[in-house]
Symmetry: C2
Subunit: 406 residues, 2 copies
């Protein structure tokens, strides 16, 4: 399949309008803090959520609203996670009711999400007082505004879209994300909203989403902490006019491929903009006994604080990669492990058969000084592969998180 990438985000697909404004949840008036996404017609919708037992109140409301596999709007605030508050669910429900009041879309078709500080009551007033402005700001080319409004410690927008065809019909799928901190694999994701004009049933959308996250958002780690509010929601409004995908087959495979083309790039963007990160780290594992073992190894290396700090220092300390492979819990023959560092500056083999090989420290440094580093791990156990996305551990991560609230 051929894809055309663009930065149109959630407005790449036909019939989706977006808005992002400053309503006053955040003190900084230049920072947008309220986003709205609206489809021109009803959508199939599917979502995955954090595996954290402590869940943000909006997650309970969104889950309930998505029970019928349908949605038409998304409202999101940043600056406050609406989590661990006595009135959290009530406030999240009010946010949906406000969307109904101002757009006519039933509250039960609204996805709601919040991100920010945990444990501080979320005042509904700034949202209520700015709903008219929010709805007034909706536009078919405003993905960037909505993206800005959901960002927390993110330094860059994460907005991307893919265009492709299904059954001869031109389709688009696009998304926006906020990431940065509290990102850990296998426990859903961060805040990600994806829109598409593909016609697909809620059931097949759910299957596509659940399959995809195993190889993408669940393989992305910034700091090993799993947020209470992680939500990834996909809405498909069918406006591309393709024959609705209601079962497996070529169209479904094409949709899954396009979804993966989008989400794998989003994961790289999230990892690259991890809190304090100076480098994106992609850990590729091949030759593993099976998929489970491949994933365990890729994740352990991407999550290792010591490996992350070494990459920050452009130090080819491959012993830490071996160490992480060893404690990953994977079934692996450590005497067959090979390790290679790759970047746009070149590639260098540093370990073969589980032992070091002589290499040029100078070349290794040159390679590791680039901002996208691939740690390529070859095993001799089978033919399974996996990729994990992470970032380096830096002074800035500590600074950001040493004083987040105050």
């Amino acid at each position: 399949m051929n894809y055309t990438y663009s930065n149109k985000g959630i407005c790449a697909a036909r019939g989706f309008r977006a808005a992002g404004i400053h309503c006053g949840i955040r003190k900084n008036k230049t920072k947008k803090d309220l986003a709205l996404i609206v489809s021109d017609c009803d959508c199939s919708a599917a979502a995955v959520y954090t595996a954290n037992l402590v869940k943000g109140a909006p997650i309970y409301v969104t889950k309930k609203n998505l029970e019928n596999g349908k949605a038409r709007a998304v409202i999101v605030n940043s600056g406050n996670a609406n989590t661990c508050n006595a009135d959290g669910i009530e406030v999240a429900e009010k946010m949906c009711a406000l969307v109904e009041k101002h757009t006519g879309i039933p509250a039960c078709d609204v996805v709601v999400a919040s991100t920010g500080v945990i444990g501080q009551p979320l005042d509904i007033s700034p949202i209520e007082n700015n709903m008219t402005a929010l709805v007034g700001a909706l536009g078919y080319d405003n993905s960037s505004d909505a993206n800005q409004a959901i960002m927390t410690t993110d330094t860059k927008e994460k907005s991307i879209a893919v265009e492709f065809t299904i059954g001869g019909k031109k389709c688009a799928i696009g998304g926006i994300a906020k990431g940065s901190g509290m990102i850990h694999p296998n426990l859903a994701t961060m805040l990600v909203f994806i829109t598409t004009d593909v016609a697909i049933s809620p059931e097949m959308l759910e299957i596509a989403l659940r399959g995809d996250v195993e190889d993408t958002f669940n393989m992305t780690s910034v700091d090993g902490d799993t947020s209470t509010n992680d939500t990834l929601c996909v809405m498909a409004n069918g406006m591309a006019g393709n024959t609705e995908i209601t079962s497996e087959g070529k169209d479904f495979e094409d949709f899954k491929s396009a979804l993966h083309a989008l989400t794998s790039e989003m994961c790289k963007m999230i990892a690259a903009d991890g809190e304090g990160a100076t480098k994106m780290i992609e850990v590729r594992v091949s030759g593993a006994l099976d998929k489970t073992n491949a994933r365990k190894i890729a994740k352990a290396v991407a999550c290792s604080s010591l490996t992350k700090a070494a990459i920050f220092g452009a130090d080819a300390n491959w012993g830490r990669v071996l160490c992480a492979i060893g404690y990953s819990g994977a079934d692996v023959d450590v005497l067959k492990v090979g390790v290679e560092f790759i970047s746009e500056a070149g590639s260098i083999t540093v370990c073969q058969n589980g032992a070091g090989v002589p290499f040029s420290e100078e070349l290794a440094k040159t390679i590791l000084l680039k901002d996208k580093i691939i740690i390529n791990i070859t095993l001799g156990d089978g033919d399974a592969t996996a990729t994990a996305y992470g970032c380096d551990l830096t002074y800035e991560y500590v600074r950001i998180n040493g004083d987040y609230r105050t």
Copy 2:
């Protein structure tokens, strides 16, 4: 039981001599890098090792030598982990043979350990050339020298001893440790050598050790990485003259209590001196459903990068504690969770029934600015308790690990 603590370390128990010298594995001539511990007579011995699949070569040799539950000497070097080297086992065996050659203690009764960089061949020459000096330096009051020789990025010695009585006989148990980085719970420990003059069979020593580490070294975390070389070895030479402990009973309980009195303090010392740490964090959990759940929660909070960074910043961001409890994998009613911060400056309740309570930010700051912080977590699920030991995450951790090798 009453204990008298001292800093006599491995020389508190009768009949143990120690030495630590600079032999040249490290370039810095002021840094000791080779240690020897020798008992005047044969000892019961037991050890636990890293769960990492990538194991240092010395671990294979030590395991073999301890198969009969007996040992009489320990040789350890720092500056090189002798791990992931093609000739690693051969070099580790040579270290034991050198002890035999210079002390007459059979090589098969020698415990060997190495710590330092992974994947660089360990040259035996500096060790071989300095064995006479090492043996000549042995003394009954040299615990500190041996401790210095096993330190890597440690900033402080971790040497402590406890005196007590068993069956009316005066006994001692003492230890030295190196910790600092690559310390993660449930996967054995760091380098710890414990000596005692208690008479106890190898079998009972093994049982006591395995039981104790579950609540001590396996509950201690610095950075979530598990070293390849972790070894904790206890040697008991029986010179206290008590009736040998060969089964359960009061004497065994007394020994276990004394061991725990020693190891729990050692864990606090290791956590407090974690790489870059400015604060020791003790996470106490009570009211858990059972021990397994209590441990999961205590460890998750002690290991949370976000909680650790918040404590570094003296930021009472209790939401991160709740978040870690939520993703710990424990069976817990999050609506019954209470959180309190405690230090020598006082205590403050910040969360009750899973939600925030109003508190003085000023008092919280005063409490969190101290260097020993207790995070007290109360649950409403049962009556099980657990404690985990950790430290804050600081700029210095990143600096140390961004350029460890070069």
